[in-house]
Symmetry: C2
Subunit: 366 residues, 2 copies
Amino acid sequence: MTLDDLPTPCLVLDRTILRRNIAAMAAALARHGIPLRPHMKTAKSIDVARLALAGQPGGITVSTLAEAEYFAAHGIADILYAVGITPQKLDSVARLNADGADIAVLTDDLDTAAAIAAHPHPPRTLIEIDSGEARGGLAPDDAHLLALAARLGPSLAGVMTHAGHSYAGRTPEDMARIAETERAGVVRAAERLRAAGHPAPIVSMGSSPTALAAARLDGITEVRAGVYMFGDLFQAEIGTHQIDDIAVTVLASVIGRRPGQLLVDAGGLALSKDRSTEAAPKDWGFGRVLDRTGRPAYGDAMIRRAYQEHGIVVPDPAHPFDLPIGARIRIAPNHTCMTAAAHDRYYVVDDSGSDIVAVWPRVNGW
Amino acid sequence: MTLDDLPTPCLVLDRTILRRNIAAMAAALARHGIPLRPHMKTAKSIDVARLALAGQPGGITVSTLAEAEYFAAHGIADILYAVGITPQKLDSVARLNADGADIAVLTDDLDTAAAIAAHPHPPRTLIEIDSGEARGGLAPDDAHLLALAARLGPSLAGVMTHAGHSYAGRTPEDMARIAETERAGVVRAAERLRAAGHPAPIVSMGSSPTALAAARLDGITEVRAGVYMFGDLFQAEIGTHQIDDIAVTVLASVIGRRPGQLLVDAGGLALSKDRSTEAAPKDWGFGRVLDRTGRPAYGDAMIRRAYQEHGIVVPDPAHPFDLPIGARIRIAPNHTCMTAAAHDRYYVVDDSGSDIVAVWPRVNGW
């Protein structure tokens, strides 16, 4: 099977680039001697998880209970479900843990901590710390931190934070500064807990940009990151990787032609409506247009508009090109987590080749 | 099973509103005596198709081959695959047609027309006409129209157009004017074909706004529309329906609280990153926040930011509210086609009730 045999639109994963990205993250953390707990929310694939876990302790991060169930069924026990838990979801976690998983949850809420402590099978729980994103979590010096730890009692397993605001950074210096804020904040919270007699064996931080840019990780016990595996146009714009390090692209067919534009069969559903690069130095519309093997043959051609099943390709005036109906292109995504989630599998190639060397399923939904 | 038993995030479909929307479209077209070929790209559900087909001839429109296969397997033979065909996709269409379907395709391309004519089992084919959207299709007076018909030969079944630019309309007068341009354009193309001796039994037009607003449909043989079944915030903003006519919402749980905002477990994946209302009179962010039963209890509260699995609810200052962790809300989507596609099923309620009266699967992907 080759790229020409695939139904379009579909998702193509270049394993050579994937391996390179995984090696780059492993090397960055090896400098500090800190292990990685890869976040599988981007890849949602056991095959990718196995590559990402090479040389690491074996624990992963997930963003949905569907991911937790899927990865547990594939033999990964040590799972951090890194979205704030609700009391109603504790039974699902307990059921998976009774079947052999060891899923840890997170909270920043006193009532939820009480519900965890009162559950007949409470999971290990991390307290979520806000290191500047202002999404979830307590500030490191929040007055409620110790009360929350007391409520959790023996379920308390440590602290975690995610410097999602690193996505607003634009330079290596920005990223290093945000990484240090992230590190210092979550370590400060752990120190407060320990000073009050609470255990905090896990001190977890991470986002792809800060994991790569951190100058020091003292006091951190593990780093989480996910999007680095695949990369995307937005991550390239903020310097997480180079633009030729994007491992996942959408294969599409030309379905229409008119002067100055091509129509392809990848629209808002196949690409997602994510517009991350709108605020980046270079706005890539709904994705960068590459040739059939993923090479940047068309300059800055991009998907300028996206309807449900139609994408409009506007060529780069400096690199005009034309293709017949049925010809194939690849589209690098703005935000790979969003784009990949529209697809139920990866068609895997090696080294920009045309042969499909594997088909890897994804676990979507909740 | 009630709303409180559902895992979140998930998709809730209010069948009472769905039936009302379907009845409104049927009544609008009955005034003209023109049948409806419902577009199933929004609902992607045989259960919804059966409701939408009540009193209609029985043909549907689809946007993917996956939909065509699914609906054919559920007994619907007369299917228009309304995205420009490629030569490579003809074998899939022929295979479904050999199994009992009667899928028609569309093209605006001379080489593709030749490929259709040369196929051993050519499908019925409509010529796509551009009535002003400038996406796909030939202009009604395009010099290539007759040559395209000649190339198609006996496969030619008529003409179709979609006035997608009606989404830029803002008043009933805009919509009626665009509907008349749509009607006149596709009828003009049919007349040119007939004058040259080509058959054009099918003259198909449609979008939800123009189907409802058309003052006359002379010369049209069928109307296509899809989003009217469910509605959404954008369609409410452009006047396709009232804001309380939105049948599909996302059920979400509160997972975080801080002053001035709530965090819920419906983010960019569960809601889509669609920002249709950004250019509408009222910008609803990533969706309008309703109470657990779908009622507008919180004023203009909306999802202001959407991360992969986190949505940030910003209350309406005029209607402040607070909810505990685990409490449930419903979110009306900007663009229901995009939001629904993230979910594999509908949990069906009647009349804003809490009881789940049915679970209807969807056919996603390609």
